[in-house]
């Protein structure tokens, strides 16, 4: 089953995270009107979100997302964590 969380960054972009799974994030999709360099880092961010339990804490998710080498424009790693936590709430 898909779960979605989204965050509208004040004066910034929309970041949406859609996850599938029950107690564990089986797959994740990150979408929105943000900018990301390099663009292919999107799939690395998704991989960083996947595999975590629905009980994952904020720090663990943040650490996983920050391990991806990418430049966030119009949003930051906290917004992505926020949207992910909302999706698995």
């Amino acid at each position: 089953m898909d779960h979605r969380g989204s965050v509208k960054v004040p004066d910034g972009k929309l970041v949406e995270v859609t996850v599938s799974g029950d107690r564990r994030i089986e797959s994740a999709q990150v979408t929105g009107d943000f900018f990301l360099e390099p663009p292919d880092a999107r799939t690395d961010l998704e991989a960083a979100i996947e595999g975590h339990s629905f009980e994952v804490d904020r720090e663990t998710l943040l650490e996983a997302i920050e391990s991806v080498d990418a430049r966030f424009i119009g949003f930051d790693t906290d917004h992505l964590v926020e949207a992910t936590l909302e999706a698995i709430e």
């Binding site: 509208k8 929309l14 949406e16 663009p39």
Partner: protein
């Protein structure tokens, strides 16, 4: 810096978006000069942001019934609805070292010539971070960039006389945005150049090209047959396929 100005060539939306890839790569390879390109479109279309979910942004039944091309860009940012002659789109392909590393600053800098031109024509516009061109009555346009190892692509679309009612039929305003009243009104509030000044679209384009003189040494140019052939091939392989356009 020299700037080649290409103010010709009418292409389908997939070829337009393919040209962006071809030209930014050729610039990075040193095969073309820094270039400003003005776009001429064949049909109404929706350029979709690279990371947007197709079904979230586009009224899918409506675009299918009306044969509106929805083409995913290589740049992030948001979806737009565009019509031939009703919007002004331009692209800059520049060496990476000629563009500020500060992304926010670079959006302001690279749209400045267009803002200068519009202001000189009497339109009250300003850059609004991160990537908008704003008028007191609403958003005139928006920009998007792609940075590669050697080059920066910066492209901007502005509304000249866009059919806003049609835009609202074609684009789905995101739920998240609709839930935020301030954002909802901002999204729907598109200001159009033609509503506020007397200049024709081509007069605005000419004024923009003139305004580049403040920042660049401009020369007129065109796209080579080779570039166009590459773009047509890439459009067939990528920008006309569901695999690319509907990947998300």
């Amino acid at each position: 810096m020299n700037l080649r100005v290409v103010d010709s060539g009418t292409y389908s939306e997939p070829v337009q978006q393919a040209l962006e890839r071809v030209l930014v790569d050729r610039l990075a390879a040193g095969e073309i000069e820094p270039t400003l390109r003005l776009w001429y479109r064949e049909t109404p279309a929706v350029p979709l942001g690279r990371f947007q979910a197709y079904g979230d942004e586009v009224a899918t039944d409506y675009v299918d019934e009306h044969d509106i091309d929805v083409v995913r860009r290589i740049t992030g940012g948001g979806a737009m609805y565009v019509e031939p002659g009703a919007v002004i789109t331009y692209s800059l392909y520049l060496p990476r070292e000629a563009v500020s590393d500060d992304v926010e600053e670079s959006y302001a800098e690279l749209d400045q010539f267009a803002i200068d031109a519009l202001r000189a024509l009497g339109l009250d516009v300003r850059h609004e971070p991160l990537n908008d061109i704003a008028h007191p009555e609403g958003k005139i346009g928006g920009a998007a960039q792609l940075r590669t190892d050697g080059a920066v692509l910066h492209h901007t679309t502005m509304s000249y006389e866009l059919d806003i009612a049609e835009m609202l039929r074609v684009l789905r305003i995101g739920e998240e945005k609709v839930s935020d009243k301030a954002i909802k009104s901002a999204e729907k509030r598109v200001a159009r150049i033609g509503d506020h000044i007397d200049a024709s679209r081509s007069e605005v384009v000419d004024a923009m090209i003139d305004a580049t003189g403040e920042y660049y040494d401009t020369v007129e140019g065109g796209l080579s047959d080779d570039v166009i052939a590459d773009a047509r091939e890439l459009a067939d392989e990528q920008f006309t396929t569901d695999e690319w356009n509907r990947q998300l």
